[in-house]
Amino acid sequence: MSLWLLAWRRFLRDRVGVAALAVVAAFVALAAASAAGWVARDWSGEVGVSYAPPRFLAAKINEQEDKSAAAAPSGARDDYGIPDPLAAELAEIHARLSGAAAAESRETTLVFGADKWGRDVVKKAIKGGETSLAVGVAAATLAALIGTLAGAAAGYYGGWLDDFFNWLYSVFTSIPYLLLVLAIAAVLGHKGIATVILILGLTGWTGIFRLIRAEYLKHRVREYVLAADAVGASDARRMFAHILPNVSHVVLVQLSLHVVLFIKSEVILSFLGFGVGVDTVSWGSMLAEAPSELILGVWWQIAAATLAMALAVTAFSLFTDSLRDALDPRLG
């Protein structure tokens, strides 16, 4: 255990890494709180008017609207002298509609604005963060599990098992990653978080496999493993009780790297409509609404999703770099 303690001490000396870890921890805590229902539970509530602007912009926009309203020609349109036969009914309907809206008391501004349906963008970003982080972590865990087991078996036993997994590796790596992901998405057809996790996990194990296999090849002939063999430890015990703790730092760093990779992949999949379903929000599905919003000049949703994602992914990447430096000091 003192090895991990040493690594932890090395890690604490890295100020960038500690700061990154704090940000990552904050994101994980927020996602956990959102999963538990403490925050952003009512993210789908239509609390504001459609495309309600952020609060810090509202004053400026109201001013502009007042000006444009003053500039607009007042009075009714000239309908070529023909009176509108439905004028009275229309006026009544308008009055009733605006009255109903007032009764619902929708906010005209929100902290960081609202989307098309008047949902709070901040809450969507938090809920979306929960989805994106959950997908990233779960898919990375699945990929690490497959990669570690396959790599351990191939590296430790060698022989036909090694040949088989190497063949599988060359097959999977000869198809570009995103193409493979899309092909599987096309075949599976149905959407959902579980599908995305499965797709990303089943395609993303190759990098971890190669590294773990190389580590096992190196370790299986070391003295401590031969000693374990001499005292009668079983294959499984040697693989997982003796060698695995000595290569676990590789798994940990790869896990962290793949969380970042899978968060980015999930965003692209959800954006294209092959990711999470319509009843779930993720950073990708938030970005998917951006093209039609930008044309209307509504930029706050893409800004919120981009900011949240950039902060989380940057922190995770910097944390991974520091983690690797701390766990493998030889790299310097």
């Binding site: 570009p176 599987i184 990708g284 910097l318």
Partner: protein, 313 residues
């Protein structure tokens, strides 16, 4: 020696290609379910389904279907698209040009720029500039490519009107200078950060070598050491890296092609996935896998040609 290496490597293609074929076959013929229900439309009647099944050969046992698929690959005839009825080979022939029109300038510009930047950063390693640029790269990489495309398209094309928002023309010059300019710019900006990080490590490897110390000891100017000695050696892994990126980019540029309406291979993949157009996806997957294997081999040969110390085994 090279010829025996070539033969052995080509021979190794066989099991890998067989694996790719098996994987694609399993995905589409087994996991994907019966395509006849997809094709027969909303109100299928049994005769129509049976007819489609006969036409596609899916009423045959699995091993016969696998044979049909192998034959399609060998002859390069994947039949017709299910949605447009266009020949799959025709789709490939017409979509490759636009893809390359964007990819070739993109690869060239981004490689030159990131090589220059990486060399400077590696030269100043450990300095504040180096750390700032590296953290900047990490931040730039953490923003999704989608955001780059959306913001560039909205700001530079829609708001400022510097570029056409999207589209594709007839002539090469028109496309290269007009329609491809913004897609290339987006692609360069996106690939700069990861490339600088990777190439910086290549330069750092070289700067630590003995020949650099020798060159400095004999009084060569720093500029000459860096531009001539270090650059030439660092260019070897960079060249192979650029080559290896090619097949992934061909299919991977689909987001750029989709947003800017470029009729390339990537956009075709997206459309095929959206329409469950299995023949097109199957053909793209198999061909790109073959291209990847060939290019990997070419990269090894290039490495050997550039660096005589490398032994081909």
């Amino acid at each position: 020696m090279t010829s025996s290496f070539l033969v052995r490597r080509l021979w190794q293609f066989v099991p890998t290609l067989a694996g790719v074929v098996l994987l694609v076959f399993l995905l589409f013929n087994w996991v994907g379910g019966d395509p006849a229900y997809l094709l027969a439309g909303k109100i299928p009647n049994p005769e129509r389904i049976a007819e489609i099944r006969r036409g596609l050969g899916v009423d045959q046992p699995y091993w016969v279907q696998l044979g049909i698929f192998a034959q399609q690959i060998a002859t390069g005839d994947f039949g017709s698209s299910w949605s447009t009825n266009e020949r799959v080979s025709q789709i490939f022939a017409t979509r490759l040009g636009p893809s390359l029109t964007v990819l070739v300038p993109l690869l060239f510009i981004s490689t030159v720029l990131s090589m220059g930047a990486a060399m400077l950063v590696a030269y100043w390693r450990g300095s504040l500039t180096d750390r700032a640029i590296m953290i900047g790269c990490t931040v730039a990489q953490s923003v999704s490519i989608l955001v780059y495309i959306l913001v560039f398209q909205y700001w530079l094309a829609y708001r400022l009107g510097w570029f056409p928002v999207q589209g594709w023309g007839g002539g090469l010059g028109e496309n290269l200078l007009g329609y491809a300019a913004l897609p290339v710019l987006v692609g360069v900006v996106v690939s700069l950060a990861p490339d600088i990080r990777l190439y910086r490590s290549f330069f750092l490897d070289e700067i630590g070598q003995d020949y650099v110390r020798t060159a400095r000891a004999k009084g060569l100017a720093e500029g000459r050491v860096m531009w001539l000695h270090v650059m030439r050696n660092a260019a070897i892994p960079i060249a192979t890296n650029v080559l290896m990126q090619l097949p992934g980019l061909l299919a991977g540029a689909f987001l750029i092609e989709r947003f800017f309406s470029i009729p390339g291979i990537g956009r075709e993949v997206i459309i095929a996935v959206e329409r469950s157009d299995f023949p097109v996806i199957k053909a793209v997957t198999v061909y790109v896998a073959i291209a990847t294997m060939v290019i990997t081999l070419a990269a090894d040969l290039l490495y050997r040609a550039l660096d005589p110390r490398v032994q081909l085994k």
